[in-house]
């Protein structure tokens, strides 16, 4: 917090105690608000630590804002606790406020309804060094070792520990704030981490062992790279620092410590010299890039670099080139850094430079930042290097080119348009044929030149293959059928799995030719072409290109061919290409799905297949592969179904061949996300085959089967079928394959969904699945955990399993998972913990692990499903915990939090919260607190709902809340809607409502309202119910009404 406050926050210039109104400040402030508000809930111990000095500021709060926790006398407010000197921990004397603990800060912010940020801002403006005030002088020292010693001297150890904790927490906040700030600031950066990285890579090439090396070594001080690409620690990144480098040159002593910042690079004092944040100092002036800095600092380096490019490198021209850019575009940045450099650059090296560059005047020229930001450094430097390696002859050529004014102009023109083609063209010169070559090559289009350039980067070690492929493709363009086949066969002899070859084919225009061949009548050319396309389409770039060139349309039409080999190849290639959305769309648009489904029609399981039938099976397999790829789009799933694919898939599912089953089951499980497929899988009898294949020896197939069952078992009938075909045991067996996480995720998913049926749970008990599942609660990826916890949650609905989970040690890992962030996981975990809490022994463990507090914190989760699930889980916890009332009160702000959830618009959240409130209200003190938080009007306002689940829990909550103070009277306007609940069809609503009405009938005016709304007749029916609780409540309510009537008559006539 300290660093963030002193550096990140932007203060109004000139005034030391006013914060600027910027997005960055706002982000930081709201971060602090959030932190402080949650502080007392997250760290209750630390929250009570009394500050060394109070935080004082002018607040806009007044006495009315404070609640009963504080002593309010007139305008001033005081907390009941006070520090050892007798000062109250919170003291408000408007507008001045003094606070001593985080607890009160938290409460204060919670009380502040609207102007939280204002409050924090006022506080920070008044307390420029809050850490100092909170923790005393220790916080000035960042090193924790020192800190520890210093505290130990004068304070009790318990307090020390708290202080340490608090400091840690604050440091965490600090880092977080800095990260917030850094992301904002780096966006404005001028020298980017990538640019530095590229340059460092370049420099590394100059390092070597020989005499000719320019540098000894280049390395980063830190190998850790932050997500934004910087290597410096966050608080240094605040200053725009990117990384620090240690460079050993051949002549300077000892080594150079260089800091790269967004504004430039500079030498600094030795890093290790001092402690603290300001350990480095700018020793030199700031340069725009490392090259320039090194050239200035190390004569040897400058010499070596110059030597390398002296013959070929027209230094003046280049410099002028850059100079122009700089002059033309003078950004504030370049100016500033140049000015600085001008002032302080060591005279000697400058003169050196000047001597060596007669063309340049007294000013030193460097690549401008604009040039650098275009990302040109690296290609250009590479060009330089390559040039230097080339033969003397080619050097001469280049020298000639660059010296002739025409070529210079040309080159410069290229640079100013877009420097890239210029670089490339110069790189392309390889034949010593004179200047004409240069002109010719540089006038070629960028398209053609781009490829060799890129290829050179990726395949420097394999240039021959590229040229060979280029030659073959050239032949292919002018070949008759016979030659075409020979060339295609030769192309296939390349290693087409290798990306080099794949891209080479594309880059030399081979894809166009191959796809054109598909449009001819020559079957052999088509087959040859498809065989290549099938291989190279394993590459995503090739897939895109094939789709762009319209290859899919042709391949779809080939599916109609009578030649089975051709059909197979086309389908397999489609399977490869249709891995992205647009390709799948194209396949569907051109009627591909229907044709592919048509391929599935074969007899897969004949005892002895003829050769033709075997080929049909192969065609079907390829068709299934293609459909598998296509089925990742929802509309394709529908198209497959409409084309009659489901019965065909069902038939193929009976195939004994695994290579057939994998695509078939793969397609099915992909499609099982659709309701129509789930029904079809059940009705076409596919569950049996899926279950059968769970026991095969191929993990991929097992995974798809389990995954299909996972998706289908939402349906009860399917779950029963899985059990009937004895699929539960193989699932449990598959749990042992803990190494294959995908398989494990599918298996646990299937077990989860299957365990929704209680009969299945009984089977799982028999197979001891619970113990295995509990063991899987640790060290698993989230997708597995979600399913495992889901399964445990379902199993825990049976009481005897609760003990099993406890005995196999499942409670602790479950409670630990409550701190996670995965929403799906949280929903399942809360459900499982809630189920476990129904057992008192489990509850003891949960309580000990502070599980209820964790559940309660989840009420703050933004996801309503998590909120609801957490609230449901809280109900059994309150019911079964010892001293539940005390426990609930101990959650600071907890009751207010849950009452406020009644403002939610989500029905399930409301129902769950009502249920929880019903439990909370059983404790009178808590009932008093929630009444203060306004629970009564909130509940009353919900009564108009028609949702039976909500009605039931709402009625229960009302019934329990009636017992405090005059709540019963306050519920007056809820009476009429409640009477209507009695007409609901749900008997559980009746019971809860009758109890609520009985409580409400203790107030005479409520009785009148009830009577007016015809409650007696309805209650009389209820009295006849078999449910005794309902009977009693209804009867008692009628009795109350009757008493009132009698008393009334008595008053009138007696």
């Amino acid at each position: 917090m300290g660093v963030a406050l002193s550096r990140a926050v932007q203060w109004v210039s000139g005034s030391e105690d006013k914060l600027e109104d910027t997005p960055l400040n706002e982000a930081i402030l709201s971060e602090i608000v959030l932190f402080t508000e949650e502080f007392s809930a997250k760290h209750p111990e630390e929250a009570k630590l009394v500050f060394t000095e109070p935080l004082q500021w002018k607040t806009c709060l007044n006495a009315f804002d404070f609640d009963t926790e504080y002593d309010i006398s007139g305008e001033s407010v005081m907390s009941r606790e006070s520090n050892k000197d007798g000062h109250p921990l919170l003291h408000l004397d408007p507008p001045d406020i003094t606070v001593y603990t985080f607890y009160h800060l938290s409460t204060l912010l919670q009380l502040t309804e609207v102007k939280k940020i204002k409050e924090v801002q006022a506080c920070l403006e008044a307390n420029r060094n809050p850490i100092m005030k909170i923790l005393g002088s220790i916080s000035a020292i960042a090193k924790e070792g020192d800190l520890l010693m210093e505290i130990k001297e004068d304070e009790p150890s318990e307090r020390n520990e708290l202080k340490m904790n608090l400091l840690n927490i604050l440091n965490q906040l600090d880092t977080k704030l800095l990260n917030t700030a850094v992301t904002q600031i780096t966006r404005e950066g001028r020298l980017s981490p990538t640019a530095v990285d590229i340059e460092v890579d370049e420099l590394k090439r100059f390092c070597g062992t020989g005499e000719s090396r320019a540098l000894k070594s280049v390395r980063y001080t830190s190998d850790y790279v932050f997500s934004n690409g910087c290597r410096s620690s966050p608080w240094r990144q605040m200053d725009g620092e990117i990384c620090s480098l240690i460079i050993e040159t051949c002549d300077t002593e000892p080594t150079m410590f260089i800091t790269c910042t967004t504004t430039g690079v500079f030498l600094d004092e030795e890093v290790k010299g001092e402690a603290g944040e300001n350990a480095y100092r700018e020793k030199s002036d700031v340069y725009n890039d490392l090259f320039t800095l090194l050239k200035n600092k190390s004569l040897h380096f400058a010499e070596a670099v110059r030597e390398q490019d002296s013959a070929i490198h027209d230094v003046p021209s280049k410099e002028i080139q850059h100079m122009e850019t700089v002059d033309g575009e003078k950004t504030g940045q370049t100016l500033r850094s140049q000015d600085r450099r001008e002032k302080t650059a060591p005279e000697k090296s400058r003169q050196q430079l000047v001597q060596n560059r007669p063309g340049s005047k007294m000013k030193k020229f460097e690549p401008s930042l604009k040039w650098k930001n275009l990302g040109l450094t690296s290609p250009y430097e590479k060009v330089e290097e390559k040039r230097s390696v080339r033969s003397g002859e080619s050097k001469k050529v280049l020298a000639y080119c660059t010296n002739s004014p025409a070529s210079e102009n040309k080159k410069r023109a290229n640079f100013s348009e877009s420097s890239l083609p210029g670089c490339r063209s110069s790189q392309k010169i390889k034949t010593p044929g004179g200047a004409d070559d240069f002109f010719e090559s540089s006038s070629e289009g960028e398209e053609d030149e781009e490829q060799p350039d890129r290829r050179a980067e990726t395949t420097t070690n394999l240039p021959t293959e590229y040229w060979q492929i280029q030659k073959l493709v050239k032949y292919l363009k002018g070949a008759n059928q016979t030659a075409t086949v020979i060339v295609l066969c030769a192309l296939r002899d390349f290693n087409l799995v290798q990306e080099t070859c794949q891209l080479a084919i594309r880059d030399v225009g081979g894809l166009e030719v191959l796809i054109n061949l598909l449009d001819t009548d020559e079957i052999r050319s088509k087959i040859g072409s498809l065989k290549i396309l099938k291989e190279i389409s394993s590459n995503s770039q090739i897939r895109q290109a094939i789709a762009d060139l319209g290859g899919l349309q042709t391949m779809v039409s080939i599916l109609d061919s009578p030649d089975k080999d051709l059909k197979c190849l086309a389908a397999e290639t489609i399977a490869n290409v249709a891995r992205f959305r647009r390709a799948r769309w194209t396949v569907r648009q051109h009627g591909g799905i229907k044709r592919l489904v048509g391929l599935l029609d074969c007899v897969p399981d004949g005892v002895s297949l003829s050769r033709e039938q075997e080929r049909d099976v192969e065609v079907a397999r390829c068709g299934a592969l293609a459909l598998w790829s296509c089925s990742k789009s929802t509309k394709n799933k529908e198209a497959i179904r409409l084309a009659g694919g489901i019965p065909l898939l069902a038939r193929l599912l009976k195939s004994p061949q695994k290579n057939m089953l994998i695509p078939v089951v793969g397609t099915l499980q992909e499609c099982a996300s659709e309701m129509s497929y789930r029904i079809a899988i059940q009705t076409e009898g596919m569950i049996k085959d899926l279950v059968k294949n769970l026991s095969c020896d191929n993990q991929e197939l097992q995974m798809h089967c389990a995954s299909a069952i996972f998706k289908c078992a939402e349906d009860k009938r399917t779950r029963d079928l899985v059990r009937q075909y004895s699929g539960l045991k193989p699932l449990v067996v598959l749990l042992n394959e803990a190494e294959n996480k995908q398989l494990l995720a599918a298996t646990t998913g299937a077990i989860w969904k299957c365990s929704i049926s209680m009969e299945n749970v009984a089977k799982f008990q028999e197979y001891k699945a619970l113990e295995t599942l509990v063991a899987l609660l640790k060290d698993q990826p989230e997708e597995v955990l979600v399913n495992v916890v889901g399964a445990l949650g379902e199993c825990a609905q049976i009481p005897e399993n609760l003990a099993t989970i406890r005995k196999s040690g499942g409670i602790q890992p479950l409670v630990n998972l409550l701190t996670g962030t995965n929403q799906a996981l949280l929903i399942n975990v809360t459900r499982a913990v809630g189920a476990c809490a129904t057992d008192p022994e489990n509850m003891t463990i949960i309580d000990r692990l502070d599980g209820v507090r964790l559940l309660w914190s989840l009420l703050k989760n933004p996801n309503p499903e998590v909120q609801a699930s957490a609230a449901w889980a809280i109900c059994p916890c309150i019911e079964n915990a010892k001293d539940a009332g005390e426990m609930v009160r101990s959650f600071v702000g907890g009751l207010e939090l849950i009452v406020n959830l009644l403002k939610s618009t989500n029905k399930d959240v409301l129902a769950s919260v009502c249920a929880a409130i019903a439990k909370i209200a059983k404790d009178v003190e808590n009932l008093a607190v929630i009444t203060d938080h306004g629970v009564v009007p909130m509940l009353a306002s919900l009564t108009n709902t028609v949702d039976d689940k909500l009605r039931r829990h709402l009625a229960e909550a009302i019934a329990h809340c009636c017992t405090w103070g005059n709540n019963c009277v306050l519920f007056g306007n809820a009476v009429a809607p409640l009477v209507r609940y009695l007409r609901s069809k749900d008997p559980s609503v009746h019971q809860a409502t009758a109890r609520a009405l009985f409580e409400l009938s203790k107030d005479p005016s409520n009785c009148v309202t009830m009577h007016e709304h015809g409650v007696v007749k309805l209650l009389l029916v209820m009295i006849g119910s078999t449910d005794e609780v309902l009977q009693e409540a209804a009867a008692s309510c009628v009795a109350n009404i009757r008493h009132l009537a009698l008393a009334n008559e008595k008053a009138k006539y007696g």
Binding site: G478, N480, V485, I486, R524
Partner: protein
């Protein structure tokens, strides 16, 4: 006469279909009839010997869509087992059994015979060059217009010459084609494609069905 002729044809058909397994008697009969029909179109003088080169090439061109002169000549040679410059009825049925229904090995043999121009049992570089010389569009800009073809020959040789003796033996050819079926007609079109076969068989054999 006609009855006599019919009897003769039947006997011949039975004999031939035993010898060359791919046809049944009826089919063989149809082919013999077709042969006789074609023979009648020729002038009387040569009819005794069988189909001459010109007639046969016409058939290959019109019926089996072959276009390359050299290949058609070579196919004629391959049919004409006894080298008398005429395709006899026996050679006709034998040849067609390979062309229409041959196994892969039979086709390999056929193609090899076609490509082995001088009949020495090897396909040499020169023979390949000869067969491929028109297979690439010539680039007038290039110094050596034949460079591409030469290159193609080397490519083919690299793919097929397993024993590295600079020429393709029958064993080499067989191995190469078995590895990659596409190489069967590596040096020129000398087999009818599936569609042509279907049309031809439909025409010839169906006519027989109608007759009987």
């Amino acid at each position: 006469m006609s009855a006599m002729n019919k009897k003769l044809i039947q006997n011949l058909a039975e004999a031939l279909c035993k010898q060359f397994k791919h046809f049944n008697t009826e089919e063989a009969e149809c082919l013999i009839r077709l042969f006789n029909d074609l023979l009648e179109e020729q002038s009387e003088r040569r009819a005794a010997h069988g189909l001459d080169r010109v007639k046969f090439r016409n058939i290959l061109h019109n019926t089996f869509d072959m276009t390359d002169d050299m290949m058609m000549d070579r196919v004629f040679r391959s049919f004409d087992k006894d080298n008398d410059s005429y395709v006899s009825v026996k050679e006709w049925v034998q040849g067609l059994s390979v062309l229409l229904r041959g196994t892969l090995d039979e086709k390999i043999k056929h193609c090899f015979d076609v490509y082995d121009l001088n009949g020495d049992g090897y396909i040499s570089r020169e023979e390949m060059f000869h067969m491929l010389k028109d297979s690439l569009i010539r680039q007038p800009t290039e110094e050596d217009p034949d460079e591409g073809v030469k290159d193609l020959v080397e490519i083919a040789l690299k793919k097929m010459d397993y024993d590295h003796d600079g020429r393709v033996s029958y064993a080499d050819f067989k191995k190469a084609v078995r590895d990659e079926n596409l190489l069967l007609e590596a040096f020129g079109n000398c087999l009818p494609d599936a569609k042509t076969i279907q049309v031809f068989e439909g025409r010839v054999f169906q006519k027989s069905n109608e007759l009987h």
